[in-house]
Structures are given as structure tokens and as C-alpha cells.
Subunit: 367 residues, 2 copies
């Protein structure tokens, strides 16, 4: 067995595994289902630290921007190793306002982001339509953020699993970790159908992180369901860049699919698609991009975001030595992947948390 066990084969677990293996660590990933079966495949792959900014999240914004800045090199390295293009596209994003209330709200966000010196631009309705002619003529204005964009998160799962494998990681799918084994306040391994010794354990189980019932570390992660629809764009009404609208977001893929997301419901481990969820998404999409009405619906699905008590991620060493958390990424798992892989690997190998993630340690909930 390797030195490090990673619990969870989503993009976070695989990304950390790959990075540790590149640095010479022996790593085993335990995935209860298939790799990427959870939120990693359900996500839309938006990379929008600034378009999705609320008024209060300075420290998280810095980590998101750090992670976005790492993406081009991260994707390049992945492709060099695996020959898979994860379709990183950073052509900018539009956050649109449809009615006047939306526009006033959007303007306040714009002023706030300008006050932080963020690279955002204000687009008039005419500028929006010049950039994306298929958008509704009702749209009043938009914030344009250059350099943001998307990655194909399902390709990312495939590429990361392949990269981890090629780097020597052992990936054990269909194997559930029942318990993290400790001894005198220090990790000594994990229990699956047998007890397996490990020096380090990284908990990257997303919404399922709380199920392990570990004495002394019970991360406050809960599932937040998001429902999604994929439609196939018709050439004349296709969208080019990621668009955030008041009631949905739209993510156009290179293969012609358009992802429409996402609802947000606290309903436990329930991934059913509801009539109300689809209705809200379709209403939001049709008022933003009228041509969507003619688009074929090709898939509907739901995933579980790992939300936390404060909805910030949980990153770094726990009170148990050798046990590191990399979970609770909520809406930002795909975006935060390169930074998480980098800093968590660093934390595992150095034994202490890098400054960049110091504000997201699991011990903040002890207070």
C-alpha cells in the first residue's frame, strides 16, 4: 500500500492524487462508486470567480483567482500526459440583467467589483447583443469579465483519472472506506473490507464527507442538490460564451450542447429531477435565450454540491495528525481544483497548511 490514501475519486481527490504522485508519493484513491460519479460529473464547469462574486468573500475570491490563474498550465500538463483536451475556454463571461430591477442590482455588483480593482466591464444592451446576438433583446445590460470561462468537467474527470493512473496512483473504484483508523491522535490507515495502513489520509468525499463518522473530525458538509438540463443548440441561435442570468446560467460546449443550470435545494441525498426544478431552469433559459425553445433536450440530471456551514471549502490539516481535509467545495469544486491539488499536496508533504488555505482549515468550526 502507498503512503497516502485519498477518500473520494472526484476531481479533487484525483487532482490531489495526481499532484502527490508527481511529487513522488505513493497514493491510493478509494472511490465508493465510479470516479467522478458525484458532483464532478454533475457540474457545469464554469470558471467564474468574478462573475459569481457576492459582496462578502474576500479570502475565497483570492483563492478562486489563484486557482483560475493555474488552469492553463494545469490543463496543458494534463494534455501533455494524457493527450486529452479538457476544453478549457477563457473567452470571458457575461452576467446579464433582464429587467430594470436586475440591472440596478447588477450595477451595484459592478461598482463593488470595480472598487476591488477587478477586471470587469459594463456592457450596454446593445453591446451584449453585439457580443452574443442570440441573447434576448430584452436584456438591459451585462457585466463582462474577460479571462473567465469554462472547462468540460466530465472530460476533466476522464483526464485526471488517466493522469493519476499514468503517474502511478492506484484507483480503487467501488470500494467504500468505512472508517479512518487512528492511534494516539494520529492517522494509521483506513478500513474498507480490511484494515489498510497509510501515513496520510486526504478526505475528499464531497457531500458524502460527513458519513464517515470519525471521532474528533466530523466535517459540517451537507448535500445541496442542483438540477441541470442539457439541450442541443441550433446553429442560428447558438451561444458563444458562458452567460449568467438572474434565474439560471448557460454554458455552451464546443460539441453544441448547452448546459442550463442550476437549481439549489436542501433535500438530503436525493438526486431526483423535479417538475418545478426543470420549470424554473427552462423559464430562466427561455427568457435569456429565446431560441432555446427550439433546442432538443438531450439530458437532465442532478448532483449534490458539498455545502458547508459557511459555504467555504474545508482545506487543510485536521486535529488528527496525518488527516487532511479537501472537501466542502460547494459550488466551486471545478474552479478550485488546481489550487486545491497544489496546496493540499503541499500540506500533506510538508505537514503544515500553506498560507493560501490558512483561512479554510477544518478547525475553524471548533470555535
Amino acid at each position: 500500500m502507498g503512503q497516502t490514501a485519498i477518500i473520494g475519486g472526484g476531481v479533487i481527490g484525483l487532482g490531489v492524487a495526481w499532484e502527490l504522485a508527481r511529487r513522488g508519493e505513493r497514493v491510493t484513491v478509494f472511490e465508493r462508486d465510479r470516479v467522478g460519479a458525484g458532483a464532478s460529473s454533475a457540474a457545469a464547469g464554469m470558471l467564474c470567480p468574478m462573475a459569481e462574486l457576492d459582496f462578502v468573500e474576500d479570502e475565497l475570491l483570492a483563492l478562486k483567482r489563484d486557482s483560475l490563474a493555474r488552469y492553463p498550465e494545469f490543463a496543458r500538463a494534463l494534455q501533455a500526459l494524457t493527450d486529452l483536451d479538457v476544453q478549457l475556454r477563457l473567452e470571458g463571461t457575461l452576467s446579464v440583467a433582464i429587467d430594470r430591477d436586475d440591472a440596478a442590482d447588477l450595477r451595484r455588483h459592478y461598482e463593488h467589483r470595480r472598487s476591488l480593482d477587478l477586471p470587469v466591464e459594463w456592457f450596454s444592451g446593445a453591446q451584449v447583443r453585439a457580443a452574443e446576438p442570440a441573447l434576448s433583446p430584452r436584456i438591459q445590460a451585462a457585466i463582462y469579465v474577460p479571462g473567465e470561462g469554462q472547462v468540460d468537467n466530465r472530460l476533466l474527470v476522464t483526464a485526471l483519472a488517466r493522469a493519476a493512473y499514468l503517474a502511478g496512483v492506484e484507483i480503487r473504484e467501488g470500494v467504500e472506506v468505512q472508517e479512518i483508523l487512528t492511534n494516539g491522535g494520529r492517522v494509521r490507515g483506513v478500513r474498507t473490507s480490511q484494515d489498510l495502513p497509510f501515513e496520510h489520509v486526504v478526505l475528499a468525499a464531497g457531500a458524502w464527507s460527513r458519513r464517515l463518522g470519525l471521532p474528533g473530525f466530523n466535517p459540517p458538509v451537507r448535500p445541496v442538490r442542483g438540477e441541470m438540463i442539457a439541450v442541443m443548440m441550433e446553429p442560428g441561435d447558438a451561444l458563444g460564451c458562458v452567460v449568467r442570468a438572474p434565474d439560471c446560467y448557460l454554458v455552451p460546449r464546443a460539441d453544441g450542447r448547452l448546459l442550463i443550470g442550476a437549481t439549489s435545494d436542501e433535500v438530503g441525498f436525493d438526486t431526483r429531477i423535479t417538475a418545478g426544478g426543470l420549470f424554473e431552469l427552462l423559464r430562466g433559459a427561455t427568457e435569456t435565450l429565446p431560441g432555446v425553445r427550439e433546442f432538443e433536450v438531450v439530458e437532465t440530471w442532478a448532483g449534490l454540491r458539498p455545502g458547508t456551514l459557511d459555504n467555504d471549502p474545508i482545506l487543510g490539516h485536521t486535529a488528527i495528525r496525518g488527516l487532511v481535509a479537501a472537501t466542502g467545495h460547494y459550488r466551486n469544486g471545478i474552479l478550485l481544483l488546481p489550487a486545491t491539488a497544489h496546496y493540499i499536496s503541499e500540506a500533506v508533504l510538508s505537514g503544515s497548511d500553506p498560507d493560501a488555505i490558512a483561512g479554510f482549515g477544518p478547525r475553524r468550526f471548533d470555535r
Copy 2:
């Protein structure tokens, strides 16, 4: 080979086949796909001659009521032979008005139906909610029609195929009729991969009826797409009877499924599900039955109704002796099944069209 070939293994073809076999005829059904693969499985199975009445369709109304009256005996005979219960439910239907304009429109329909001495009743909003508590409190009024209801059309396909088989019908799935063979103005058989002799041919190919390209008989049937959604009802918000609303209909099944239908689009042989179609259905459903928002979406599908030039069915002898049409049932194929099976069998065996279907002969389009 038998005496009669039936082109089309939907409920109409199977129903006519079963009836002819019961009367001693040897019958072969040719179905290009699987039995019931077309509109028969896509339908909702509503049996509503009066709830769906427009202002002008007297002759069709008589045929629909005739057919509805035959349903209990038809279902009983099917069950006696096949042991399958097709879930015929005739507990009445509600046509609801949501806003005041709807209510004024509904009232005119009510007066018209009363003037025809039809058994319809006017329900106030309070009466509607007493009958179906899960319906929206916004509903202003409804027409209640006792004796109408539904049948499970997918079970009907299964039961009819089994009944036809047990009665001696040969059902050839995956076999396409390329041509109807004639000689001197009289049918002599059909061409599949070979020429097969038959005395009679019944054309029951629904929306595909026009594709045969038969000289002298090219029925004006076109596909009219209908999109549908099935959700699973939650006990507290379940619906009991069929409800027609301004923008959708709702058909609750005994197994807890609720069918929401149906869009109507003339887009050729295209059974794609569109974002706009689902959106309209979900909008109609949520404003009629608010609890539908929480219901799980379990299936979406589309079917092709066989519409005709005047949207009446095409029933009876063509200009080619021995060739009988039983197609173009548009929205009414399930409802008109027992009458069609009865009168078309009669027409085949007697050589002339019964009075009940005289107004629906294929030769009306020659004028």
C-alpha cells in the same frame, strides 16, 4: 397467408385484427417497428368525447360517444382473454378554467354542450376543490363530465397484441410493407421483401400511412408531434381524475404516475423533446396543480398523431376494392378504438361501410 393483411401494429391495427380473428378471419399484422411503437404508446389514453368537444364536430362526436359506450365491454372481453386489466377508469373528467377569460370561454362551451343535451355539469371553484383538493385555489370553475375517463394505452397495446395472438392473428414485427399490390382496381396483396397474396388489406399505419405511395390512394395524413412528461405524484398532492386545463391536460395513473400533455407541432417525422415544449407543459401543470413542482420527473417523450386534412379519421373502403382505411385518428385513436375495430371489421367482412362511419370515408378527399 391469411385473408386479411393489416398494415400497422398500433392499437387500431391490433384491434381490427383481433375483431376480425374473432369473427373467423385469418389475419396478418405487419408492423415496421414493434407493436404500439407509434402514437399508441405515446398517447395519454384519455377518453373524453365531451370534455374535448369543439363547437363543430357533430358526426365525430356521435362516433366518439359510440366508442366510449363500447369500452367497458371491450375491456372486459380483453381481460377475459388475456387476464390483463387495461385500467379503464370512467370516474368523470374536469375541464378547468384558471383565470376569468378561461372561465368565460369555458362557460360558452358549457352552454353549447347543454344545448346538445350532453351530460355535463358546471362546477364552481369551491366544488372543484372539494372534488380535487390538490388543484390550484386559483381555479375559477370547471365542466364536469361524468362517465368519461381514461385507459392505460400502453397496457392496451400489450393486451391487444396478446389477444390478437391468442385469437390466431399472425403479428410480424419489424416487417415493413413496401407497397400494396393491386390488379384491375382490386387488392391482391402486399409487398414486403416478397409479394404476399391477400384478399383484403386494412391500412392502419397512423402518421406513416402516406408513405406507401399507392397509386389511386394517398391518404392525406400528416404527423403532428405531441410532447409529454410523466411525473410521480406524492400522496398529499395527488390527483384523482383526468383534468383538462387551458394549457395542458393531466392524467393520473393508478401506479402514481401523472401524465402531463401535450404540445402540438407540425414538424414532420421529428420526435425530439424540445426545451420550449417541456416549458409550456410544466407551466401549464404547475399553474393547475401547484404540488406538481415537488414531483419527480420520470419520463419525457414525444409521439406523432396522425392528423388529416380535416382532422377527422379516415375510415372505410377506398376506391380500390378490398382496400380499407382505418387511419388518421389524430387525437382520438385510443378513444375511437372499440368503434373502429367494430365498424372496420364489419366493413371488411361485408364489403361495404356501416352507416356509423359513412361520413369518414377516404373518398371524401376526392371531391
